[in-house]
């Protein structure tokens, strides 16, 4: 008997052994909910791209596929010198803030997690409690500070409130808890000082957390609107979200241009996510411990 003769019999056996279960109501409901959730997520993006391909007179027509799709809006936005400025501003601010957060938040988180000193708990609670203060309440003090220090309408003015965050510190502290003290003590015996231990031993072990923090901070700063709007005056200092909102004139908002700018501005966030997401998936910490 040849293999080709056997195969149908095996297939038939497999079919009889594992019959397909009919989907029950609960499953159908779950899939429906997931589908609705998916639609809710995708629709704004779909409309953003759709609107960016429409002529101004079509914008309020809610058709998803434009009658006459075109890329004139993209040409207009990319040829407008202001867009480059805003893009560069946003990039500088988001990158510097992200780097600062990754360094400062993890330094503070590491210190709070791995060192025993009087008042440690109070410091931690004090940092955590700032999470409960809404940004809207802080905007005025920030503005007054910026004004007094002469930081209005500058990169430093836009960046300073976010160079370190309570959330990032908390996140990093929690992740450093997963780094066994043995690693740190081993490095101490091997002759490293505390700063070297933090950088060469602890930081590589929390790469997934650093990646998550980098994504959060980058996205947060890339899309930040209220504070950059308040602290900047000149068009050259605008960030992308502030700049995009200024498209159009006082009588009419140019939605098709705003959506075009928004579509272009999602590209860097996608790149950041693609770069860092693999670190989130890696479970690095446990690999060096008992097998």
């Amino acid at each position: 008997m040849t293999a080709t003769e056997i195969r149908p019999t095996t297939d038939a056996l497999l079919k009889t052994e594992a019959p397909k279960k009919p989907a029950n109501m609960g499953q159908i409901l779950r899939w429906m909910l997931l589908f609705l959730g998916g639609v809710a997520m995708v629709m704004p993006i779909a409309y953003m791209i759709s609107t960016s391909l429409k002529w101004p007179h079509e914008v309020y027509n809610l058709k998803l596929i434009p009658d006459e799709p075109h890329i004139e809006n993209y040409t207009y936005v990319l040829e407008d010198g202001r867009f480059y400025w805003w893009f560069v501003n946003s990039m500088i601010i988001a990158v510097i803030t992200t780097v600062c957060n990754v360094i400062f938040d993890s330094l503070v988180g590491y210190t709070l997690c791995k060192f025993r000193f009087p008042g440690r708990y109070i410091v931690f609670i004090a940092i955590l409690s700032t999470l409960m203060i809404p940004t809207e309440m802080l905007v005025i003090p920030w503005y007054l500070m910026s004004q007094q220090f002469g930081w209005l309408d500058s990169y430093w003015g836009i960046m300073f409130p976010g160079l370190m965050t309570a959330f990032g510190t908390f996140l990093m502290k929690q992740f450093f808890e997963t780094v066994p003290d043995d690693f740190i003590e081993a490095a101490r015996i091997d002759g490293l000082n505390e700063l070297q231990i933090w950088w060469t031993v602890a930081m590589p072990l929390v790469k997934p957390a650093l990646a998550a923090l980098a994504i959060f901070v980058f996205l947060g700063n890339w899309t930040a609107f209220i504070w950059p709007l308040i602290v900047t005056n000149s068009v050259e200092m605008y960030t992308l979200p502030v700049g995009l909102s200024s498209f159009g004139d006082e009588a009419d908002v140019a939605w098709e241009l705003i959506m075009t700018g928004a579509a272009i501005s999602t590209i860097p966030t996608l790149i950041v996510f693609l770069i860092f997401q693999r670190y989130i998936i890696q479970g690095v910490v446990m690999a060096g411990l008992k097998g």
Partner: protein, 351 residues
């Protein structure tokens, strides 16, 4: 290489004292094993020697130099941790070479030293691998390699074999012993496993509740236990403990029989008589224990029998071919010179 001296070492965490003034001298090149149950203070002592914790009182000297106020890196020690603590983001070569980062050596010398250590541990082929690609035993070897590479005066091992399976543990035990014979450094090894202690140590330090119970060679702690705790802790199955009284210079057992010890034991004193299962057999001599066999555990060449007496179970060794049956009344006897006599009140050895 260097000797190690501990003088009246005390460690307190707030008000809780976990080490109560222990003293010990370890000779140059000696393999000393600290053994004891959980919470006995053995790991704390090791961490104090390493400098990972500060001593509340007392003195630690390595090679004649008091190290209490020195950082771990300046104490000329290396430590192997229970969880190995090898860095998952570094290759085996980098892990082994990690301890040389701060050493004043040329790069070529460092590489040569790493290769030498890898050669000794049989890991030359694994140098480019990451820890996740290694087995438990190989990871343990990397941890040992990282300690070896610096050629420290004293090696500290903190329960390094407890995460390995039984077979690998036996193998690594042998390897560490061979390694010690080869490199000859002073080793302080902490374990809760008395078999590890007996098989590896030049001298064993048995600890309980922050006190040293006995220090001695494996033969000494086995044959001349200082107290009932050591007697029970060392040896498997544990030593049997029976009660008796000294009357007219002889030992009167609860079973009713009288044994002439020939020693001057205090008259009228209640004593605990310790006898190891391997010294206790069914036989016709003076009865230490009489009772029915409750359980049999055949081991092939011999059989362990459990005999119920005085509200406890006594373990004895019987012949493997014709052991007594379960339920059978047996008389267990032992040579007088194999008996250990302890004070019933204090537990201290009387002979």
């Amino acid at each position: 290489m260097a000797d190690l001296a501990i003088r009246n070492l005390v460690k307190r965490y707030d008000k809780t004292e976990v080490l109560h003034g222990i003293s010990l001298d370890v000779e140059d090149g000696e393999f000393v094993v600290f053994v004891g149950p959980s919470g006995c203070g053995k790991s704390t002592t090791l961490r104090l020697i390493a400098g990972l914790e500060d001593a509340t009182q007392g003195e630690i000297a390595i090679g004649g130099r008091v190290v209490n106020n020195l950082e771990p890196k300046d104490r000329d020690i290396a430590m192997v941790f229970q969880n190995y603590a090898i860095y998952p983001h570094m290759t085996v070569r980098k892990n082994i070479g990690f301890g040389l980062r701060t050493a004043k050596m040329s790069k070529a010398d460092k590489e040569a030293r790493i290769d030498e250590v890898a050669g000794i541990l049989g890991m030359t082929d694994l140098l480019a691998r990451k820890p996740s690609q290694l087995s438990g035993g190989q990871r343990q070897r990397v941890a040992i390699g990282r300690a070896m590479v610096r050629d420290p005066a004293v090696f500290l091992f903190d329960e390094p074999l407890s995460n390995l399976d039984a077979q690998l543990r036996t193998q690594m035990r042998l390897e560490i012993k061979k390694l010690h014979q080869r490199v000859g450094n002073t080793i302080i090894f902490v374990t809760h496993d008395q078999v590890e202690a007996m098989t590896m140590a030049d001298r064993i330090v048995i600890m309980k509740d922050g006190h040293i119970q006995q220090v001695g060679t494996p033969a000494e702690v086995y044959h001349k236990p200082a107290n009932t705790f050591v007697a029970r802790f060392i040896g498997a199955p544990s030593m049997n403990m029976l009660s008796g009284t000294v009357t007219n210079g002889a030992l009167r057992m609860a079973s009713g029989s009288t044994l002439e010890l020939g020693d001057n034991l205090p008259e009228g004193r209640d004593v605990t008589v310790g006898v190891r299962p391997e010294d206790l057999h069914p036989g016709d001599g003076p009865a230490l224990v009489r009772g029915p066999v409750t359980v049999r555990e055949p081991l092939g060449h011999e059989t362990l029998i459990y005999v119920g007496t005085e509200g406890q179970e006594v373990i004895a060794k019987a012949d493997g071919r014709t052991p007594p049956q379960v339920g059978e009344e047996v008389t267990l006897t032992a040579a007088v010179d194999t008996l250990h006599i302890f004070d019933a009140a204090t537990g201290e050895a009387l002979r």
